[in-house]
Amino acid sequence: MARRIPLPILLWSGLGLFACALFGRKLAVQWSGLQSGEVVDLDRVILVYGLLPRAAVALLAGAALGLSGLLLQRILRNPLAEPSTLGISAGAQLALGLATLYVPSIVERSSTAVAFAGGLVAVALILALTWRRGLEPVSVVLAGMMVALTANAAGAALILANGDYLFSLFIWGGGSLVQQGWDPAIAIGWRLALGLGAAVLLMRPLAILGLDDVAARGLGLSLNASRFLLIALAVWLAATVVAEVGIIGFVGLAAPVLATLSGARSLKQKLVAAPLIGAVLLWLTDGLVQLAAGAGGERVPTGAATALLGGPLLLWLLPRLRLFEWPSLDRPAHTPKRVARPWLRIAVLGAAGIVTLAIALLLGRGLQGWSLASDGEMLADLVAWRLPRVIVAATCGGMLAAAGVVIQRVTSNPLASPEVLGIGAGAGAGLAAVLLFAGSAGLGWQLAGSSTGALVTLTVILVIAARGNLGPERLLFAGIAMNALCSAVLAAVVALGNAQSYRLLGWLTGSTIQATFLEASVAAIGLVLITVPLLVAARWLAILPLGAGTALSVGLSVRLARNTLILIAAFASALAAQFVGPLSFAGLIAPHLARMMGLDRTRPQLAGAVILGALLMMVSDWLSRMLFFPYQLPVGLFASLLGGVYLTLLLGRGVERRG
């Protein structure tokens, strides 16, 4: 009896054949060039050292990423874990960029080792950040995203500060598969073989780690040792790919998920299916990229193209993904004592804000060192420069903080922050479109472009959220997917390496340097328009975190309240992103800080967070102006570095409490 071949296998074979056909076409074009004497030799070289290794690298890198993603998803029990969502790729790339600049000899010796170190640091940071939350999936992915964003911003600042030298980072960032030899294929190949071997050997622990901790411990498994071993293996595979060809997004995410959806049930089946599917996916994408390439080069690097395909795929998958039942995302167990007179504390904070403002306006550096501007005309002129920047920074910090309070309360997720909804990146994609179509677009057009981008992003997220009646986690996942998609668009534009790329890089790192009084007034009005309604709607913010049942019982339309609040938060993040870039963790940190100061009730927390956000951004702006005078660094970068330090501190306290 002839058994029917299952549909998914047919599908994947079909796609594989299609990729084969694309490759065959490329080969045919190459062979048709074999005519005159000297050219034959060169064409053979292009075939042997160009086309063939490129196909091999596509297949091997795809398989390596598929395996890496499978291991990470399994170990972390997180369907969205993969090298790029966990910031492993970004960390590896940043390490390569830093090493290229400051210790080129190490990169020359082993770029893979450098990338591995960077990836390990990234993943260690994420595990550390989310350890006391039991590596709960949403937190892990959010932390990964933060690490990735910060690493990308730092990378962008490196390019900006070093001009033409780092143009190779443009290419790495996009992940180009162009090959001129077999070394990368061999490097990825033997590591993939080792990785597969190790995965098969560790099959039993891997299978058990997919269960919950208690079961795993009951089976006598040294939980953490095997976990770390397997994570290191996954990082090693991903870092090799980054070192050899650059960041290739989404293959690591899509391959294991698609394997599951294609009917791979057992771990053994998945270990076969995920790498195979990853290989087919990347080969196919690369074939399409080559097909679309003109004589002037490939329009989009393959690594960015995978993200363009993968982002929508992720959005489509979202309602279909089975999320593990996870202990609900409660507020951290310890809550600082609520203060008796919160408004007194807020007044003190406000006074601190005013002092900071005065310092930011008056104290600066000049050719003759530090100076406190005091004489009339110069003071007026300097303040005229500093005031718009400081106001833009402060109000954007305040808006982000307000958005952060809202998002954290609506999603009941203390790790949520406005950047996470992808609205900042959406604004960037809109800005990129405007710059591409009209290179010298004025501020008005740029604002229009970024607002449109932000609104479109927001609408997509809300539509998806409404359709699937998504809970808080899936809403955030949708945000992450949009963020990744928009970041890929930005990466593709940046990879073009032209004047617009430079403008976008500047925006990505978050700069207040061009701030004008017009922008300052827009931002200030925005802050008022956003904060006042929130203070009025404080009741919603107080009730929503208590759960849908409670909300319904007090007569609150959950959907209306939630959507309105999200809309306000999104507008706040969009406006702030236009002026200070997509990155600054003011929206994450400020609500936390406010709560730690005992401002727990809604209105005091909101007011406190807004002031703290403004403070944070004013300090970041001042530091960015002063530290490397006369060179100025982007304020967003400073804010996110401060945010990273804060997160690490947060973790330290958590561990101590447990230990």
Partner: protein, 305 residues
């Protein structure tokens, strides 16, 4: 009295009817260069191409951007120590600029977005060198002349433009044998990709002026095209390859082992010239530097041509 603002006008109209006052003015400008420069506006320059152009005609700006990087990438001319570093080109330090209080700020189209901020400090003069799809040499030359006009160095500017033209002509003759083949003009960002300089880049424009056919015919934008895989260099097997430094460490390490690179006819036959860095977005001084470096490299290598 226009010649008083521009002492060289007398020089240009140096006819037998040279009157006494003009003669004195000429003498003053020759004997007392400090006096002449005191009459010059204090200038701040954001754009590197204009920076080298200004220095070429003896205008020393009060401030300019990214001087450390300039010394590494553009190399020449040496920047006098009196010039204050304003920070990154993309984000110059406006506060510092305000404290320096220049009389005039020079930008190019690249920095047009900074104009509103800069105009609060001093009048802004935008002198275009690069515009998409246009060869930059004529633009650079007219910018040079306009700058000379504005700073009272019209004669120096005229002379510099003429010298540049003459030098290019001289190099063109010297490079006649080399010009029998087309050439790729590229920079290498990593060991796998290059960017080609087309006719709308300064080195590409100069290449054409030296009588050398650019082997790269596809579109480039004036910031050089998107990176292309090295195998694209095989499309014109008879072409020579001119590489503009700097070479990243990865390239120096990876390129000698790159089988495809080594298989290129130009590489096998030693028709590759690696030149010292040249400012990719320079003015006429960069044009001269590029022509000189190329002629020197070709003169050193018997295989070229």
């Amino acid at each position: 009295m226009s010649f008083r603002r521009d002492g060289h006008l007398a020089c240009l109209s140096g006819s037998p009817s040279l009157d006494r006052r003009a003669f004195l003015a000429l003498a003053a400008s020759a004997l007392l260069p400090r006096l002449a420069s005191a009459a010059q506006p204090r200038i701040a320059i954001i754009d590197w191409g204009l920076l080298e152009t200004a220095l070429a005609i003896g205008v020393v700006p009060a401030a300019a951007t990214e001087l450390r990087q300039f010394a590494r990438i553009a190399v020449e001319p040496a920047i006098p120590a009196s010039v204050v570093d304003l920070g990154l080109r993309g984000s110059p330090n406006y506060e510092l600029l305000r404290m320096l209080a220049p009389d005039l700020i020079l930008i190019s189209g690249f920095y047009e977005y900074q104009r509103p901020s800069l105009e609060r400090i001093a009048p802004v003069l935008a002198l275009p060198i690069y515009e998409a799809g246009r060869p930059p040499y004529p633009l650079a030359q007219s910018s040079l002349l306009a700058l000379g006009e504005r700073t009272g160095r019209g004669a120096d500017a005229d002379r510099y433009a003429a010298e540049t033209g003459a030098e290019l002509e001289e190099r063109r003759l010297a490079l006649r044998r080399f010009a029998s083949r087309p050439a790729f003009l590229i920079s290498l960002g990593d060991a796998r990709h290059f960017r080609a300089f087309g006719a709308d880049s300064m080195p590409g424009d100069v290449l054409a002026r030296l009588g050398i056919t650019n082997a790269w015919h596809d579109d480039t934008s004036y910031s050089a095209a998107a990176p292309v895989g090295i195998e694209a260099l095989a499309r014109v097997p008879e072409a020579s390859i001119i590489v503009l430094a700097p070479l990243p460490a990865e390239v120096s390490r990876g390129l000698p082992d790159n089988a495809l690179w080594n298989a290129l006819p130009a590489v096998r036959e030693g028709r590759v010239a690696v030149l010292e860095p040249v400012n990719h977005f320079g003015g006429l001084p960069s044009a001269r530097r590029f022509a000189r470096l190329l002629a020197d490299a070709v003169a050193r290598e018997p295989n070229h041509g």
